[in-house]
Structure formats: structure tokens, C-alpha cells
Amino acid sequence: MSILGTRVVRTEDPRLLTVGGTYVDDLRVPELSAAARVTFVRSPIAHALITGIDVEEARQAPGVVAVLTAADIDDLAPPPPPGEGPPADGGGEAAPLPLGGPWMEPLLAVDRVRFVGEPVAIVVCEDSYSGADAAELVSVDYEPLPAVVTIEDALANETRLFPDADSNVAVESGAPAEAGAFADCEVVVERTIMNQRLAPLPMEGRAVAACWADGKLTVWVSTQNAQISRFILAGVFGLDPASIRVVAPDVGGGFGAKIGIDRDGLIVAWAAKHIGRALRWAETRSENLVGMTHGRDQRHVIKIGGTRDGRIEAYRLDVVQNAGAFPRMGGFLPFLTKLMAAGPYDIKHVEAASREVVTNTTPINAYRGAGRPEATAAIERAVDLFAAEIGMDPAEVRRTNLVTADRFPYQSPSGPVYDSGDYVSALDKVLAGAGYQELRAEQARRRERGDTVQLGLGLSSYVEITAADANGGETGRLDVHGDGTATVYTGSSAHGQGHHTTWAMLVESELGIPMADVTVIHGDTDLIPMGVGTYASRSLQLGGVAVQRAAGEVKDQARSVAAAMMEASEADLELDTDSGLWHVRGDPATSKTWADVATHAGPDGLTASVNYTEGQPTFPFGAHLAVVEVDTDTGKARLVRHVTVDDAGTIVSPVQAEGQRHGGIAQGVAQALLEEVVYDSQGNPQTGTLADYAAISAAELPSFELLTSETPTAINPLGAKGIGEAGTIGATPAVQNGVIDAVTHLGVRHIDMPATPVRVWAAISEAREG
């Protein structure tokens, strides 16, 4: 029986549970034994001209090795030519490269700062305590400029962040409103909603160590993509990639914010090369909350129209993305939002348009879902608004409009082709699993009694895109050694996703080599020069299939060797994947082990390298039901149950797929109820520490109720789709809808996220007065 689909526990856990793994700041390698510490001097002002920097006093401070500013950067290649523009519509997530041209982002700030937290100088010191003291002595003269904080500020264009750009709008694209698109609709609802800014908050913040020796730059970085990091470093430093080694050791979470190596990481690597001293930097959480990229921050105008009996006929989504101070990936995220605008619904007419604006806030990048949770949040709110307007149960409106199972592959009006799905069945499973009718009855009783604590049922149906850059592929190499063990080299670099376990399962399944004898290596460009990495829920369906394919090629090589050894024809050779033994058909008593075969395999041994690409992405789907209690006196909302179907095709590791769903759901609940990055009107962060940012804890969550559903895709041989982001995509609008549903009978139609007690209480009060 194949090990795939069975409940295997993770092989990486013992190391993490005993010595706590080896993250960048834990490295005790010889190259870093004399490493100095980097401390950043960051802008305390959102928008200002720099009129002077005095570093002399800091240079004299105890333990200081160097103090560096933009004036010291005289050894870098000139920036790439302008006009590269954003990635084409419909492309995948890629390295967070800036737009270039007038939007060019420097390493250390040159003549102006554009957000609180922007790097202005660095202090290199023997230890971080002295570094913090010395950083206080760097004196920077700022001439404050008016701060552009909100989307409205940016669109007003009274103050421009980039003097050489025409406006604060970095990218504008999409369909203009079509006249008459809603003309035939009996009902039209329009609303402006916010998808708020979030902090990705990996438990390990950014961390980099770097060393320049003998013409080679070695960079250890907490990243989702060692190879993309090397590509970026080579471009910025004008170095041959072969003279750069990037290592991603254990990585303490990424959630999209650790794609590639960012500006601050590049500064550390540059400084190590510039002063010829090994350096290390691990940011503080307070740095992390202003310096690491944020996620989301889109304003949506949603317009939905249809018939009074529940048929949705037209939908329009207008997105304004607050990209933060520099249009990194924030300039691209709305493309994914527009691509998924139609959601899982069969809607005749769908339009979407977007603008990306710059503001004096921390730059925006991918965060779990990267543009797709925003699309789902928008249409799921729109569907509920439409349902409330026509007085129909939101579950019934969804069932009426979901794409039916007989329509796949389905051409979405927003562009993509959905590969496979059964959206109605996902919804029905969730409704049945939760006991929807009984819950509605309980809700009715509480309403009738006028209970203080009301019940809300929040639904979302979703479809999402995974491996959006499927054609970018992933690498995998498999070696089987003379002792019968195997080594996997994968371009897909895990940071919690358990590749060591899953990739070993794939090898055991294909070759019968036990998982315990399979070593998985990732995140070292000297060993794996080519690869893409882990993001966009792409790993299993690209990197996993690459390993499976490599195993298949190794099996073919072994068959040939074993046939020669056993003096039989290849066609008669069989591999028993339960025992890992080769034998001739009909003669199970005589066999060869993998060790036998590998030993006789000749000078190259048994080895295969594969770069697996897919022609198109895959489209996981599902349905979530959130059961929410709202205290109508205090406005406090509490999630009491959360029931989901998340169908990601064939499941290889059920334990880990569930883990991905759990984590995704929690981050969705966090956005719906708690978390928000807040700035004041001057662009000062109000959530700059973990004491202020309302990160979700165990006490604010219930256990989750996961239902199973596996609709394989035909796009790849595993039948697998991505599962990393589904939980977040489905949970966020379900919980938001649940809060609102608890108080719709009081006249409330919408509450922006996070649905904090203050907001819920205000919405109830306003409706009651209303």
C-alpha cells in the first residue's frame, strides 16, 4: 500500500523539539565566529527631506566598527534601466522587485525618507547592546514634508512621494465601467469596503548573516527562496551568481513576507562586502512591525446586481491598492485580485479595475493569499449584501449562483480557466456538517427573545489560484547511494511546510526506499543552484512532482542496471515498492536491493534531475461556515465554531494538509476580528510593537471542524492543488459575514474588518438610531 495519503508524522520535528533547530541567528559556523552585529538607524518620520547626517559621535562610541550611510555606497552596479513596468496581467507571484524608473528604491535613504522605519544608516558593532546605544548617537537632520497616509491622501495628489513621477498612482489597469452593465438588474447594491493592512508576523523576524571571503559572498538569510535571493543579490551587486552562495537554514515562517531577500537584507550583505567583515543581523520585533513588508490594504468599491429571486447578473470590483512607500509587489497584487474577482460564481458580466498608489507607509508585499483573499472578501461581502437586499438566505443565493460541477473546465469571466471542482457539494457539506438549519433556528429564537448575545452564521464559498506561476516550474534531483539510501535536492525551500517529510513520502512511494533512509536538502544554492522556492501554494504540485518525476527516472535507470545484474530483460523486472526489492517477474525469491543496484550502477550512479513545469495553475475551492456570537451591549464578537471544506485535490500528507488549513483559518479569523496595522494622520505607526498589534492567540480561537473533500486535478500526476492559503481565503469573509449576520436584524448591513468591539458597537448604535 502506498504511504501517500496516510497519516505520517513529521521527520523534521525531533530536531526542532530538542535543540530548537538552527535559524539564522542560531548559526555557530566558523565563517561567522568573529561576526559583528548590524543595528539599523531608521527614519522616525513618515515623510521628510534629509538635510544632514552626522555619524562622528556614533563612530567614537564603544565597540563601534563602522557607521555607514548612503554616501558610503560607492561600489554597486548602476540601477537597472527604467521602464521595466509591472509584471504582465495574469502572471505569477515573483520576486518583489521594485518598478524601477522614477519609483526606484534606494538601499539606504539618500535625500529623503518615505516611511517610518526606512533604513537611513547602519551601525556595525561588536555586540547588539552597544549597537543600540551607538545608533542613538547618529544625528540625522530631517525637514518634514506633509505625510501621505491614506488612499484618499494619495489620490488627492497634493503631495507627491516621487517628484519625478506624475502622480502617486504607480500602476493603473483594468476595465472601465461598461455603460448599461447593470441596466437590466432588478436590484443593484453598491458599497465601499476596506480590506485592512496586516502585519505578516512570522515568529522569526528577518535575519541575515553575510561574509565576503576569497571573492565569494555567502549570505545566510531567513527566506522562502534561496535561489531567488541569489538572483537578486547578483543583480544588485553586479556579481556572477556563481560567486554567491545563499543559504536558507531553518526559517521561522514567512507567509509571503520572506519572498527573496529584501532591502534591509541587501544592506547587510553589501556592508559585509564593503567593510570586509562578517556581519549578522536579526531584527527586533519593533523593527519587524515597521520594516518588514505589510500585507493587504486595498479599498474596494463593490457593485452587484441581479434579480429579486436571487440570480446575480453583474458584478464590478474597483480596487485601490495602498502599495506603501515603494511599489514593490504591492504594485502587482491587484492583478491577482482582479483575476479572481468573479469567485466561484457563474456571473454573466464581471468587470474589475485597479489603481496602485504610494503612501508614506511601510511597503506592501505578499501576505498569505497575496491578492486572492482580497478578491474573495470583496465578492463574499457583495453576495451577502445582495442576499440581505432581496431578503434571501445567503446559502440559497450562493447555491443559486455557484458554477455547477458539470461546467469544468470552466472559463471564468475574469480570465482564468478553473480546472476542476464541485462548489455546490462543498457548500452543502459544510451546511450539513454544521447543522445549518438548527443553527438558523437557534438564531431566530435568540432574536425573538431579544438576547444580549446574538448568533451569526457567516458563509463563504471560494475558489483560489495556486501555483499561479506554474510555468516557472520547480527543480528536483534524486540520488540513490551505494548503501541504498537516497538524497533529494529540491528547489522548493520549506519554512514550516514539512518538505522533508512529504518529499520522503513521495520517494518511498515511488521506490520503496523507506522514508527514514531519505535525506531531503533544500535552501543552499551551492548544492541546488536552480530553483524557485515556496510561495503561492506551489510546492507540492511543482516541487513535489519534480521529485516524483526524478524518482521515476531513477527507477528506469535502476531497472536497466538490475536487468543486467539478473540477466533478464528489462520488461521482466519488477520493483516491489513495499519491500524496495527488484526481482524478475514470477521469481520473487531472487531479488536485488537498492544498495545492490546502486553499487553496480557505474560511475554516475543512480541520479536524475528534473525541472518540472505545469502549463497552467490549479484552482482549489471550498466553503467555510463561521458561527459567531456577538454581545450587542459591548460589541464583542467571538468565533464559537468554524466548519470548513477545503478541497485541494488529492491529499498526499493529510496531517500536514490539516495543519495548513488550521494555520490559514487562524490568520483569516485574525483579520476578520482583531488585527490591523494602524497609522496616525502623520504616518506614525500606532501598532509598532507586539503589545499594540493585536496578534491572535489560542484564547481567541475555538478548535476547527474540518470536513474532507478531494477533487483531483488533471493538471499534474499527483492530482494535487495547493493548500497553504485556502484557509485564510475562506475564513476571513466567513467570519466577517458571521459578525454582520449576528446583527443584520438590527439593521446593520456592513462592518469593516477588523470587527472590533468598538466598530461592532458603533454599527449597532448607528443602525438603532438610524
Binding site: 523539539l17 515568529m203 489560542a698
Partner: protein, 156 residues
């Protein structure tokens, strides 16, 4: 100042600056890097260790305050997987960790929780771990792991 701390049964002595935090003493002087720094406001619990058997956030304790006292980190819980503490065993069995960064602190907090309450309810586990943040697991399997470890220890 000279500080001597018994860490996982061994004496570690070092001359440290007065302001040295216990977590940095453990990581830089005792060279035990399992205990992580996840924030600077005592909010995340990644640095949780036992000080004379009681859980503390080692970013909120000066090394000087630990002078002459005894600290247990996750490295001191078991010599290896064969000797796993019930909490470590349950974390693996229930998939209570993903990236692993919060794990040492979470495990130590769970050990302390079970020392104080041998048979907690789910709600007690959730409120007991409120000071330890995890961004990967949604806490679902962490809670299950702690309950499973409690059940295993009660059964013994």
C-alpha cells in the same frame, strides 16, 4: 558582573554586562540557542524557560536575577527523541509545530502549565498558553498536543 547559573544541570559562569537579559545569556554565553527571541515587549513567549521550575519569559529576566538559580530550557527536557518528555512526544504526534520557531517556548510553557494543572480542560489550555504566540498552527494541534500529553501523564 560575574553570574553563575545552573542551566539544564550544568553550571554556566560568565562575566556579563549588568543589563544582559537571561535569554541572551542562554543564547550567547551558554550557547544554547533553542530559546528564541520573538519580540521585545514580553508578548510572544518564544523565550519561555523554567526558572527554578516556574515558567518565565527569559527576555524579561536579567541574567543577574538568575544568578545562583536553576534554568531549564527545551534542550534540558530530554537527551533525545527516545527520551522525549510527554509534551515533546505529543507535539510530534499531534503535529503541534510547523516552522518550529515558537516551539521551544511553547513546549516549556506547556510543561509548566501541566505541572500546575495536571488535567486541564481545552479552555484552560487555551487561556494558559495565551502568552505564547504561534503563527503557523492556528493553535489547534498545539492544544490537542497539550491535552494528549496531559492524558498520557494521567494514565501513567
Amino acid at each position: 558582573m560575574e553570574v553563575t547559573v545552573t542551566v539544564n544541570g550544568s553550571q554556566v559562569a560568565a562575566d556579563v554586562a549588568d543589563r544582559t537579559l537571561l535569554v541572551h545569556f542562554l543564547r550567547e554565553r551558554a550557547n544554547l540557542t533553542a530559546t528564541k527571541v520573538g519580540c521585545d515587549t514580553s508578548s510572544c513567549g518564544a523565550c519561555t524557560v523554567l526558572l527554578d521550575g516556574q515558567s518565565v519569559k527569559s527576555c524579561t529576566v536579567l541574567a543577574a536575577q538568575a544568578d545562583g538559580r536553576s534554568v531549564t530550557t527545551v534542550e534540558g527536557l530530554a537527551a533525545g527523541p527516545d527520551e522525549f518528555h510527554a509534551v515533546q512526544r505529543a507535539f510530534q504526534a499531534e503535529h503541534g509545530l510547523q516552522c518550529g520557531f515558537c516551539t521551544p517556548g511553547m513546549v516549556m510553557a506547556a510543561v509548566s502549565l501541566l505541572n500546575e494543572n495536571a488535567a486541564p480542560t481545552e479552555e484552560e489550555v487555551r487561556s494558559g498558553l495565551e502568552g505564547n504566540l504561534c503563527r503557523c498552527t492556528g493553535y489547534h494541534n498545539i492544544v490537542r498536543a497539550v491535552l494528549a500529553a496531559a492524558a498520557e501523564r494521567v494514565a501513567q
